[in-house]
C-alpha cells in the first residue's frame, strides 16, 4: 500500500505515488543540472516534461489509477538519463564528459570530471560509507591498507570514528555525479576564510552559517579554558577526557584542511554554493547502508583475513626459501627473528617517546596557570614558552607530519624537513635547560627569620583543637608526587593558596598553651628570601578551644611562589589535651624540635615512621610525651586504629563516620557553649527586670504613702526628682 499524491504536471492533475514522485523529482533535478549551462535550457526541459506528461496521459487513459514507480522508471529509460545523452558540440558544460562510458567511471571512482583529482566517497566499493574507498582512491593507496589504518586508529585512540562520520557526511559520493545526485561539492571557501576556509566550505555545503562549524570545532577548546579557574579538579577523570577532545578536533581540522580542495575557479565556487543537500535523502541512504553493513563487514573480514593469509604465506614462503638456501639455516632464521624483534622494540620505544612527549605537553599545558606564580621576569617567561613550543610541540608535529607523509606517499624532502625540525628541537633543549637553570636560581637561598609568637586569647583552655577554615579532606593523587605536594592549592582569581603548613607539637614549659610560627621561604639570595618570608600572610586565631589556621599561604603573582613554608609549633602544657584535624597541613609532622637549617626541606621526606601522631585523634600531654586518651604512648600509626576501635565499641559505627562524629561533637560543644552563654545573659536580664520591678513596687508604695497618688516609672521618677523640688520652690515662692 503506497501513498498517492496529486501533482500539477504540465497543466494537468496527475495522481502519482509518492515514491514515484521522488524519482521524478530527482530526474528533473538531474536534467536541470545536466543542462545547467545550456542555452535554452528551460525550453529543452519543458519539452522533455511535455513528453513525460504525454506518457502520463497515455497510461491514465489506458486505465491506470495512478503513476507508479515502474511507470516512472520506464519513462525515464525511454527518454534516457542525462549521462546517456550524447553531447552535441564542444560548448557543453564540463559535467557532460561524465556521460561517456559511465560504467567505467563508476568503477574508477569518478575522478575525471574536471581533470583535477577530487576526494569522493566511492559508493560502489563501499563497506559502510565508502569513505576509505574514496580516500584510497585519492591517495592512490590500496583500499585494504586504508581500512586497516582506520581500524587501528579507532581501536587505539577512539579517534577515527569522529573524522569518519564527518567525512561520510561531508565528502560527496560518486553517485552525486550520476542521476539524482545533488551536484554540490565540498570545497574550502578561501574567500570567506578565518584560517583555511574549512568551516566556510562546510557551511556552504550544508547551507548553514559557517560560524556553526567554527563553534563546533572550538567548543572543546572553550570548555577546556573554562576549567582553568577550577584546575583543582584537574585530576578528575572527566576533565582529562574533555581535555583530550580538543587536540582531536584540531587534528580533524588539519586533516580536512589538507584533504578538501580549494574553490579556485568560478565554476567550482558555483558548485560549492550549489543547492541545499537534502538531509532527508542522506538520512535515508544512511539507514539503507546500515542494513547492508552487516553483510559487508563479513565480506570485509574474509577479505582482510585472506589478505593477511596471503601475506603470511608469502612471508613464511620467503623465510622457508631463505632458510633452505642458506647452510646455517637455523642461525639465519634466528637472526631474522632478532631483527624483527629489534624493530619491534625500537617501534615501541619510539611510540613510548611520542606518548611521553605528548603527555609532557599536556602536563605542561595543565601546569600553565601556575606559570605566573613561579616565573619572574622576561627571560623566564620566554624560556617557558620556548620550552613548550620548541621542546615539546615540535617533535610531536614533526612525527605526525612524518607519519602523514608516509601514508600519503608524498615526495620525501626529508633532508630539509629533518634539518628544520632537528634545529628547532635543539633550540627547545636550550630553552628547557635555561628555564630550569634560571628557575632554580630563584630558589637557591633560604631565609632565616626568627620565630614569631602568636597571641592566644585563652591560653588556659583544657583542650586545643587545631583546624583550618576550609580543610582539605579530599585525597589527591598528587599526594604521592613528592614535588607537587605544595601545589595542592585553591586558585582564587589571582591568588593561589599553598598548603605548605607543618604542625609541630611540643610540651609547654608552663601551664599555658603557646603557639609560635616560623615563616620560611626560598629566594635568589638571603635578603630576597628573608623579604619573601616576612611577606607571608598566615594567621592563627584561637577561639575557645579551637585554633583556627588559614587554609593556606596566599601566593600572588607579585610575590611569586618560592616554596614558602610555615611551621606552627603548639606547646601543650602538662595534662592538657591536643588534637590536630586532618586536611590542614602536609601530613608529615615530627614530634620534638628539629634543626631548621638550610636543608629543612629534606627532612620531610624521611618517611612515615617519623609521624609521631595522627590526625583526628585526641592526645593528652604527659611527662614524657603525648599519650592517647587510653593511656598509650603516641605512636602515629596505631592511634587511629585505636580511636577507631574505641568508637566501634562505643557506637558500633564505621570508620568513615568517625570524622563526621568528631565534627558533630565539636559542634555540640560549641552549641553547648552558646547555650550556656545565652542562659547566663537571660539570667542577668531576668535579674535586672526583677530589680526594676521591685524598685517600682517600692516607689509605688512610697508614693501611695506620700499621697501623691501618681504611679511613676523609675525614669520618670528620676525626672520627677529633679522637677519636683523645682515645683516646690516655685510654689513656695
Amino acid at each position: 500500500m503506497k501513498q498517492v499524491i496529486n501533482i500539477n504536471f504540465q497543466g494537468r492533475v496527475v495522481p502519482i505515488e509518492t515514491s514515484a514522485f521522488e524519482i521524478l523529482k530527482a530526474y528533473t533535478e538531474s536534467l536541470n543540472q545536466h543542462f545547467a549551462n545550456e542555452e535554452g535550457k528551460e525550453e529543452i526541459i519543458n519539452d522533455i516534461e511535455s513528453r513525460i506528461g504525454e506518457l502520463f496521459q497515455e497510461r491514465i487513459t489506458k486505465g491506470a489509477t495512478c503513476i507508479t514507480d515502474d511507470d516512472i522508471n520506464a519513462i525515464i529509460t525511454s527518454i534516457g538519463r542525462p549521462e546517456d545523452f550524447e553531447p552535441m558540440d564542444d560548448a557543453q558544460p564540463a559535467s557532460s564528459s561524465s556521460s561517456s562510458s559511465s560504467n567505467q567511471q563508476q568503477q574508477a571512482g569518478s575522478n575525471f570530471t574536471t581533470g583535477h583529482k577530487r576526494l569522493y566517497r566511492d559508493e560502489n566499493n563501499k563497506v559502510i560509507g565508502g569513505v576509505c574507498a574514496g580516500l584510497a582512491n585519492y591517495f592512490n593507496v590500496d583500499i585494504v591498507v586504508v581500512r586497516i589504518i582506520f581500524i587501528i586508529l579507532i581501536f587505539s585512540f577512539g579517534f577515527g570514528i569522529l573524522p569518519y562520520i564527518i567525512m561520510w557526511v561531508a565528502v560527496p559520493s560518486t553517485s552525486s555525479t550520476q542521476l539524482g545526485g545533488t551536484k554540490k561539492k565540498l570545497f574550502r571557501d578561501t574567500d570567506d576564510k578565518m584560517i583555511a576556509g574549512v568551516c566556510s566550505g562546510i557551511g556552504n555545503y550544508f547551507g548553514i552559517n559557517p560560524w556553526i562549524p567554527r563553534v563546533l570545532f572550538l567548543l572543546p577548546f572553550l570548555s577546556y579554558f573554562s576549567r582553568w579557574g577550577h584546575w583543582g579538579g584537574f585530576w578528575n577523570f572527566g576533565d582529562v577526557v574533555r581535555f583530550t577532545f580538543s587536540p582531536t578536533s584540531l587534528i580533524v581540522y588539519i586533516i580536512l584542511w589538507i584533504v578538501i580542495p580549494e574553490a579556485l575557479t568560478t565554476s567550482e565556487k558555483l558548485e560549492m554554493k550549489g543547492e541545499k543537500v537534502d538531509m532527508n535523502s542522506i538520512k535515508n541512504s544512511v539507514m539503507e547502508e546500515m542494513k547492508g553493513v552487516g553483510k559487508k563487514a563479513e565480506k570485509f573480514g574474509k577479505e582482510a583475513s585472506g589478505f593477511i593469509n596471503e601475506k603470511a604465506k608469502a612471508v613464511s614462503g620467503d623465510m622457508q626459501n631463505f632458510s633452505r638456501r642458506s647452510r646455517g639455516g637455523l642461525g639465519n632464521v634466528i637472526a631474522m627473528f632478532a631483527k624483527i624483534f629489534a624493530y619491534f622494540i625500537i617501534g615501541c620505544v619510539c611510540f613510548g617517546l611520542v606518548m611521553g612527549l605528548f603527555g609532557l605537553g599536556i602536563f605542561s599545558i595543565g601546569v600553565f596557570p601556575l606559570k605566573d606564580y613561579i616565573l619572574k621576569g622576561e627571560w623566564q617567561n620566554f624560556y617557558a614558552w620556548g620550552t613548550l613550543v620548541l621542546f615539546i610541540a615540535v617533535p610531536i608535529i614533526g612525527i605526525i607530519t612524518w607519519l602523514i607523509r608516509k601514508i600519503a606517499k608524498m615526495k620525501n624532502n626529508s633532508r630539509i624537513l629533518r634539518l628544520t625540525f632537528g634545529s628547532l628541537w635543539t633550540l627547545g633543549w636550550v630553552c628547557i635547560i635555561m628555564l630550569i637553570a634560571t628557575v632554580t636560581q630563584d630558589f637557591k637561598s633560604s631565609s632565616r627569620l626568627d620565630d614569631q609568637s602568636i597571641a592566644l586569647s585563652n591560653p588556659k583552655v583544657n583542650k586545643l583543637v587545631v583546624t583550618s577554615s576550609s580543610p582539605f579532606t579530599k585525597k589527591y593523587y598528587a599526594r604521592n608526587w613528592v614535588r607537587f605536594e605544595p601545589f595542592e592549592n585553591l586558585l582564587d582569581d589571582d591568588t593561589a593558596y599553598v598548603r605548605n603548613v607543618y604542625v609541630e607539637i611540643e610540651r609547654s614549659q608552663n601551664d599555658s598553651f603557646q603557639v609560635t610560627m616560623k615563616k620560611m621561604s626560598r629566594g635568589h639570595d638571603r635578603k630576597d628570601a628573608n623579604n619573601l618570608a616576612s611577606l607571608i600572610k598566615f594567621n592563627a586565631v584561637q577561639s575557645d578551644s579551637i585554633l583556627l589556621l588559614d587554609k593556606g599561604i596566599a601566593i600572588n603573582k607579585v610575590d611569586k611562589f618560592r616554596n614558602q613554608l610555615v611551621v606552627i609549633t603548639v606547646y601543650v602544657p602538662l595534662g592538657k589535651q591536643i588534637r590536630v584535624n586532618s586536611g590542614i597541613d602536609n601530613g608529615h609532622v615530627h614530634f620534638g624540635a628539629r634543626n631548621w637549617g638550610n636543608d629543612w626541606d629534606n627532612d620531610y621526606y624521611d618517611g612515615e615512621q617519623d609521624m609521631k601522631w595522627q590526625h583526628d585523634v585526641d592526645y593528652v600531654m604527659k611527662e614524657d610525651g603525648l599519650y592517647t586518651l587510653t593511656g598509650r604512648k603516641a605512636d602515629g600509626w596505631n592511634d587511629k586504629e585505636e580511636t577507631y576501635q574505641n568508637n566501634k565499641k562505643k557506637k558500633n559505627g564505621s570508620y568513615r563516620y568517625d570524622r563526621i562524629q568528631d565534627s558533630i561533637e565539636r559542634k555540640i560543644d560549641s552549641i553547648e557553649n552558646r547555650k550556656q552563654q545565652k542562659k547566663d545573659s537571660i539570667e542577668r536580664k531576668a535579674e535586672y527586670l526583677k530589680d526594676s520591678i521591685d524598685r517600682r513596687n517600692e516607689a509605688e508604695k512610697n508614693k501611695i504613702e506620700n499621697g501623691t497618688g501618681l504611679i511613676i516609672k523609675p525614669e520618670q521618677e528620676a525626672v520627677a526628682s529633679v522637677i519636683m523640688p523645682g515645683v516646690d520652690i516655685l510654689t513656695n515662692i
Partner: protein
C-alpha cells in the same frame, strides 16, 4: 580505445543530418522523429533529441508551431526554415563526400585482400 566511444563519436557526427532529413520529409514532432529513427534502426534518446532540436531552432534552422491534442499536452511540430534547407543541402553534400571517401578507402582494402587471395591462387 574503445568501441563505445568511437561509435558514439560517429553517431554524433551524423545526428544533425539525420534529424534534419527526417524533418525535411515533413513537419514532425519529437516523438514522431524518434519513431522514424527507430524504424531506420537508429536508436535515439529523447533526451538527446530535445536539446538538439532546441539548438537547431535557436540557430534558426528549424521553426515550430503548437498543435493542441486530445490525448495530452500540446505538441511542437517542427519544420525546416529556408536557412535550414540550405544548411541541410550543405550537410548532404558533406555527407556524400565523406561517405564516398570512406567507401573508397575500405573498398581499396577489400580490393587488396581480394587481389591477394587472387594472387595466392595459382
Amino acid at each position: 580505445m574503445n568501441i563505445d566511444n568511437t561509435a558514439s563519436q560517429m553517431r554524433k557526427g551524423v545526428l544533425e543530418f539525420c534529424i534534419l532529413s527526417v524533418i525535411k520529409q515533413g513537419e514532425a514532432y519529437p516523438s514522431d522523429i524518434i519513431d522514424k529513427m527507430k524504424s531506420a534502426n537508429f536508436n535515439l534518446l529523447e533526451g538527446t533529441l530535445y536539446p538538439l532540436l532546441t539548438r537547431l531552432k535557436n540557430a534558426e534552422f528549424l521553426t515550430y508551431r503548437w498543435v493542441e491534442s486530445n490525448s495530452g499536452p500540446p505538441r511542437k511540430y517542427f519544420s525546416l526554415t529556408e536557412r535550414g534547407a540550405a544548411f541541410y543541402k550543405e550537410l548532404e553534400a558533406t555527407w556524400n563526400e565523406l561517405a564516398n571517401a570512406v567507401k573508397a578507402v575500405t573498398d581499396i582494402d577489400a580490393n587488396n585482400s581480394n587481389n591477394n587471395n587472387f594472387n595466392n591462387n595459382p
